[in-house]
Each structure stands twice: as C-alpha cells, then as structure tokens.
C-alpha cells in the first residue's frame, strides 16, 4: 500500500510543485491552503504523513500540528519551510513534528524524508542538527531528569555528521554502525528535544530573540 500524504501550504504554486514531485511515489490524498481546512481534512482523511508549511495565516503550521495531535496522534508531520530560523525549527519540533527540512531540499531527498517519517523515523536537516547541538551545548544535566538533559556522545557524533552534510547511510559507514542505529539515535534526540523542559533551551531561545 502506498503511503498516504497530505500537503499543507498557503503558497499554491509551491503546493502544485510538491504534488507533482511526490505523486509518483506516494498517494497524495489531499491538500489545503489554510489552517482550518487542514485540521478538518486531516482528521477526516487520516493520512500517514503530512507535509506542513510553517508560516501561514491564522497561526501557521504549529496550530495544525497541535490541533491534529490532540485527536489523531498517529498522524506524522514533516515540516517543510522556506525558513530556517531557529524559532521556527524548534517551535515545530516541540509542537510534535517528526522532522524539519527547508524548501531548498532536492525532490529525491524530500521523497526519502517522507518515507523515513512514515517508517516512524525522525528527519534532521543539517541546519536542524546544528540548532540541536547548539541548544544542548555545554550544559550540565539537571537533577530532575539527567538523561533528558543532555545528548550522549554517540548522539552528538551522529548529529555532527548530519550537520556536516552527510546522508544517514554515510553517517552509518563513518561511525561503523548500521543505518538502523543512526535512526535510533536521531529519534532519541528528537524525543529529548520534544520532552525536555530544560531552562537552558528557553534561555538559548531567548538569547537568539526567539521568545
């Protein structure tokens, strides 16, 4: 069965382009130009993966991710945005998106990212990996949840390689681990990013004028 993909973007031309690029490999079940339609239709259609734009009128992608997440937590979101601003990236990930790629991504890479998200994996672009490393850099674990508060050495290694522009396959080879292990590391970084409520992340955000 083909992966069911739903597209949300207020930029119609871009939407048409993505639809054309993905329609061969995936079943595009629908698309929306605005937040309200998107939430309603996604709840009804229950797609596997939603490609979501970050900047839209009426609250943007975060509202859709949160709104659908309340009722249909099994729907997975991949944020696709022209913005690589830290506040957008971190905001979408914290809202529950499983990945974040910028719109400059190559079509083949985008298809690959959708497949990866559908398989339950997380997708980190080089820039996102950089943001995460930056956010977690040089902090001491708090007593509440020391595990959540820092990245393991291995996770940092994986993120650094992604930030250096390597694909998962190359990361696996460089570290002499399997692709599955790379995926596990990336997923656990995503989980930490979504669950952690470290003050440092907030401070990091405010230092960069995010909040």
């Amino acid at each position: 069965m083909r992966v069911k993909v739903y597209l949300v973007d207020d930029h119609r031309l871009f939407l048409a382009g993505v639809r054309a690029e993905l329609s061969e490999a995936f079943s595009i079940v629908g698309s929306a130009y605005d937040v309200d339609t998107a939430i309603e239709e996604i709840r009804g259609l229950e797609p596997d993966v939603v490609l979501i734009d970050v900047h839209m009128p009426d609250g943007g992608g975060i509202v859709v991710v949160e709104g659908v997440g309340e009722t249909n937590p099994e729907v997975k979101f991949l944020a696709l945005s022209v913005s690589d601003q830290a506040e957008d990236v971190i905001g979408m990930i914290r809202a529950g998106a499983r990945g974040y790629v910028t719109k400059t991504i190559e079509p083949a890479d985008l298809a690959d990212a959708v497949r990866r998200i559908d398989a339950g994996d997380a997708v980190f672009s080089p820039r996102l990996a950089g943001f995460v490393l930056d956010a977690f850099a040089g902090v001491m674990p708090t007593e509440e949840d020391p595990e959540l508060d820092q990245l393991t050495t291995r996770e940092k290694d994986v993120l650094r390689l992604i930030a250096r522009g390597f694909a998962y396959k190359q990361v696996a080879r460089k570290l002499n681990i399997s692709i599955k292990t790379v995926e596990t590391h990336v997923s656990s970084v995503l989980r930490k990013l979504q669950l952690t409520n470290r003050h440092e992340l907030a401070r990091w955000a405010s230092k960069r004028r995010i909040v």
Binding site: V82, Q85, T104, P126, R127, A129, G130, L133, D134, A137, G138, R160, A163, R164, G165, F166, R209
Partner: protein
C-alpha cells in the same frame, strides 16, 4: 408655544417609535457612572454629552434625574453591551431637544422645582458644555475659524457659548448676591471657567494631533527605509534574475538574496558581529558562493572571537571552500563549524569526485601549504580526507583556552 407643542408631539412620537424598537442596554466603554446615559445616547442616536446634560438638569428638579437614572440602571442591570449608535437626523435631534424643553416647562408650570434660577443655570451650563465638548470638534473658538467644521457644527458652538454665557449670567445675578462673593472674584472665576470650556478641548486635541503626527512620521520613515532597502536589494536581484538565462547563476543569486533579506528581516547579523568567527565564516562562504556559483550550506554551533589564530582558521577554511568549489564538481558544499570547550573545529565537506591525497600533483602543493601550513603555524591541525569518488572533507582544528 403651539409650535413647541407640535414639535414636542413629533419628538414624543419619535421617542415612542424608538422605544418600540428599544433594546436599551448600558454601555461598557466610555462611561462615567453605570453607562446609563451612554446607553441611552446610543439608543436614541444623539451625542452622549447631551443625554448627560439632560440627566444633570433633571437632577435639579427635586432629584428627578437621579431617580430616572437609577430606574434605568435597574432596568438594564444585566444588559451591558456596546452597540454602534445610528446617528439621528438633525430635525429629529431638534425634536428631541424641544420635547425635553417642553417637559421641563411643563414641570415648571406645575411649580415642581425648587428654584427657577437653579434649573436654568444648571441646564444652560450643562447643555452649553455639552454643545462645546463634542469629541469630533476641535473646540468652540477654533471651530469658528476652522474651515473643516460644517455649518450645523458652528451653529452648535454659537448656541453652546450663548447658553454658557446665559447660564453664567443667571448664576452670577442670582447666586452672587446671596452668597456674598465679591463680584470681582466671581467674574475672575467665571472667566477662568469660560476659557477652560472654550479652549480646553482644543488644547487636548492639539496635543493628540501632535503625537499622532509624530507616530505617523516615524511609520513613514520606516516604510521609506524598507522601500529603499527592498529596492536596492530584492528588486535589483529580481532584475538580474530576469536577465540571466543560466539556471545555476539564477539559483545562486536567489540564494544570496534570500540569506541577505533574511538577515535584514530577522536581524540575524549582529551589528557588532564583525569580530566573531561565525559571522566571518558566513560572510566568507557567501562571497565564495557568489564567486564560484556553488551553493555552500553553513551550519554554525557556538562562537568564538576573531583574533590572529582564528583568522588563520578562517583563511584556511575559506581556501578549502574555494578548492571544493573549483575542483570537486559537487553540487553543494557543507561548512560546519563548532566551538567546543577547548578547541574550534571546522569541516568543509563535499560529495564530489574526491582525489587521492597521496598523489597530489606538484601544482596542488600550494593548496596543502595554504591550508595546512596556515593552520599549523597558528598551533592547529589540518586533515584532508578524500578518496576518489567519495568526496572530500577538510578538517581544521584549533585549540583554544577553555572557557
């Protein structure tokens, strides 16, 4: 008198009509006590200043105004809502006014008030003030010369001033002698009051106009600055793109413009960031991208001040980026910089054709020299990791004092 009665009848009819569709509500905004007068003004479609004046005047008739006010308050105890008032037509407003005057005269004929002087004084003063304190009027004296004020507006001013003077005259002739205040003191007080009423609204409005104007000017300036910037950058780039027929060149121009616009919009580029390694690396990558038309993805983690040693790192990194752009054939290049606790690391990575490091030809020794030599002289280390067909990665390390 008959005229007044006819008009008053019309006014009553009007009121009955209005009461028929009357859903009286107290007003939430712009209220002084409970919003009763404001609500009534909205329902009738007249200025709330007049309704307040009517209540005050009626208040002089053994407190009738207060009673009516309380009654209406009770009536609309749980109804507070702001409605858009429909302004009543001029003749209807006059009718309403005459109806009010008629009922006052009727009360007076019955002898239902304590003192003619009190009711007339207060009535004239409150209505006079009401006529002069319209929110949309600049003030009585200014209004007489202001060409933007229409005729009814001016008439209203004149009536207001006349009522004020009349009221003050009655007040000074009846109260003055009783209370024994000296006529000079009274005259001074009255003149001061008159000036306040005449010019007060005008002065406040002038001040408001001034601050509005200043805000507007600041907005205009901001808009002009934005327009100038967009013209210098975005429009020029779009023009260049339209003239260009080389897709790679177009893409570079667009990327270049995108990152510049982004920096400008979000204030990404720190104003004093020119002495930071991260800013310098980004700037260098952007320059090389523009020169060689190969996109460079820059990811920066942490930062470090720019000094002699880190300048060497910057120079070597730039050299590595230029090499990758010129020789690797890769579609894009990655620059990754991380400031760790005790060292700075720069990776310049491409997925291009790679080369055999051992077999570097003589003419490419310059590369090794300019990259390796530069970093090593500054106390760092450079590794070039490449295999034919597997891309190239240049790793530059520079130790720094912890902290």
């Amino acid at each position: 008198m008959s005229l007044i009665e006819v008009e008053a009848g019309g006014g009553d009819h009007l009121i009955v009509n209005r009461i028929g569709q009357l859903r009286f509500r107290r007003r939430g905004r712009d209220r002084i006590l409970a919003g009763v007068a404001g609500g009534l003004a909205d329902t009738l479609g007249v200025s709330d200043a007049f309704v307040r004046a009517a209540f005050v005047t009626l208040g002089m008739v053994w407190g009738l105004g207060v009673l009516v006010y309380l009654a209406m308050w009770l009536m609309a105890l749980d109804r507070v809502e702001d409605t858009q008032p429909e302004p009543v037509a001029t003749h209807q407003a006059v009718g309403l006014g005459l109806a009010f005057a008629g009922s006052l005269l009727f009360l007076g004929a019955l002898g239902w008030w304590p003192s003619n002087a009190l009711v007339i004084t207060v009535g004239a003063l409150s209505f006079g003030t009401a006529a002069l304190t319209d929110r949309n009027m600049p003030g009585p004296l200014a209004a007489l010369v202001d060409p933007s004020v229409d005729r009814p507006g001016r008439l209203r001013m004149l009536v207001g001033v006349a009522l004020l003077i009349g009221g003050l005259a009655v007040f000074s002739s009846s109260v003055g002698p009783i209370s024994g205040i000296g006529p000079v003191v009274l005259a001074v007080a009255l003149t001061g009051f008159g000036i306040l009423v005449a010019f007060g609204p005008w002065v406040t409005r002038l001040a408001q106009d001034l601050s509005t104007e200043r805000r507007e000017r600041i907005r205009q300036e901001e808009r002009a600055e934005m327009a100038a910037h967009l013209h210098d950058s975005v429009l020029q780039t779009l023009a260049l793109i339209q003239r260009s027929d080389d897709p790679a060149r177009m893409s570079i121009l667009a990327r270049h413009q995108e990152s510049e616009l982004r920096d400008w919009l979000y204030g990404n580029a720190p104003i004093d960031g020119s002495d930071l390694l991260s800013t310098a690396l980004k700037a260098s990558a952007r320059r090389i991208e523009a020169d060689h038309q190969v996109p460079i993805d820059v990811v920066v983690v942490g930062d470090h001040p720019l000094n002699e040693d880190t300048r060497a790192l910057l120079g070597a990194a730039s050299e590595a980026m230029v090499n990758a752009s010129k020789h690797s054939g890769a579609e894009r290049i990655s620059l990754y910089f991380e400031a760790e606790d005790n060292e700075l690391v720069v990776y310049v990575t491409d997925q291009g054709k790679g080369f055999e490091p051992a077999g570097v030809a003589g003419d490419r020794r310059g590369i090794a020299e300019s990259i390796k030599g530069r970093v090593e002289r500054a106390g760092g280390a450079a590794d070039i990791d490449s295999e034919p067909g597997e891309g190239t990665e240049v790793v530059l390390r520079m130790p720094v004092a912890a902290g």
